[in-house]
Symmetry: C2
Subunit: 203 residues, 2 copies
């Protein structure tokens, strides 16, 4: 199965700007991408990275400046067989989670993200297309229904946890020991304990 | 196996105060509790609710005013066999997620929550105790290690999504159709689309 990991190489992760400057956000993006690519490879897949600008990464990289929707919909339109798309900002990804994503023999398998996103999918139906704006998980459920595809959703916290906001960095420190976690520790990002959920601070 | 669902019946869910008043927060807490209890019962368990004050709920309720740590540690100390504790604010809970929580035959099974919490556990070891302050998932890993218990963590978004903050309400609307979701719809809470993750607004 073709497995594509799209990533922004141009000013990525702007919602982390309160904690990381622009160069750091690119380096951290590459660390997360490295985790995702290595986890996919260890699970027996051969991920291809498609980036909007050059990125450093332990997998083949194609630069393609198209926005996410036309990029992925072009891949879906051209797909000769099954296509999987896994986002690059999932440093909690584990081999078990990858296995659970690829296990169901359904036309469309969706991995919901926090806040209405769709963090990964597997498509075996010629007519499925993506729409990542708004609450994409709802749109993707609707699109699957409209084309008569059978749909399975994967219930995984590790697939659901995309890293977009400063509070998400705590999830990396709490639940990962890969490149992204190491990068954060080296950058002086630490857990901060307040009432409620754990956040981060930087020294 | 004994399955306990602890819940606060006295001024619960204060971090939702920007969206719901005190009476509403209690009613919404009861709706979430109803979802959790019904899902556990449908999966073949007989949940017992332990509440700090009387709550309305489709399961037997015991009122116990102790804080969470001494309450749960008392149950653990008195347990004759396995004990499961499932938090009451998990309205996304599904039968599959319940099955995955109870499936591993490990001394301690932990279901991490967002932000470092521990949203559910199953304990089959006489010496395991809880500490819900701070990043409890780290403390629970450490405690399991110190007593020589074998530990499994369940990777479930549905078990991880506890509802504490206004943004969490979006997860209920996106991924559940139970009592809590119905309650939010009736209260005029709706998804709000901005940049990034989906939030909620109230009409």
């Amino acid at each position: 199965m073709r497995v594509v990991v799209p990533v922004s190489g141009s000013d990525p992760k702007t919602r982390l700007a309160d904690v990381l400057d622009a160069d750091e956000r690119l380096a951290f993006t590459e660390a997360m991408l490295g985790d995702v690519v290595e986890t996919l490879a260890a699970a027996g897949h051969a991920p291809e990275v498609v980036a909007t600008a050059a990125v450093d990464c332990p997998a083949p990289v194609t630069v393609d400046e198209r926005p996410l929707d036309p990029l992925i919909n072009g891949l879906l339109a051209d797909a000769a067989g099954a296509l999987a798309v896994v986002m690059a900002d999932l440093p909690l990804l584990s081999g078990d989670a990858v296995e659970r994503l690829f296990a169901p023999d359904a036309d469309v398998v969706l991995a919901p993200g926090l806040g209405g996103g769709t963090n990964a999918f597997v498509c075996r139906h010629p007519d499925f297309r993506v729409d990542y704006h708004g609450a994409s998980i709802r749109d993707h459920r609707r699109i699957a229904r409209e084309i008569g595809a059978d749909l399975v959703e994967v219930d995984s916290r590790r697939l659901a946890t995309d890293i977009d906001e400063p509070a998400d960095l705590a999830e990396v420190l709490l639940h990962s020991d890969g490149r992204a976690a190491d990068w954060l520790v080296d950058a002086g990002v630490e857990l901060a304990f307040e009432d409620g959920r754990v956040g981060v601070t930087r020294n």
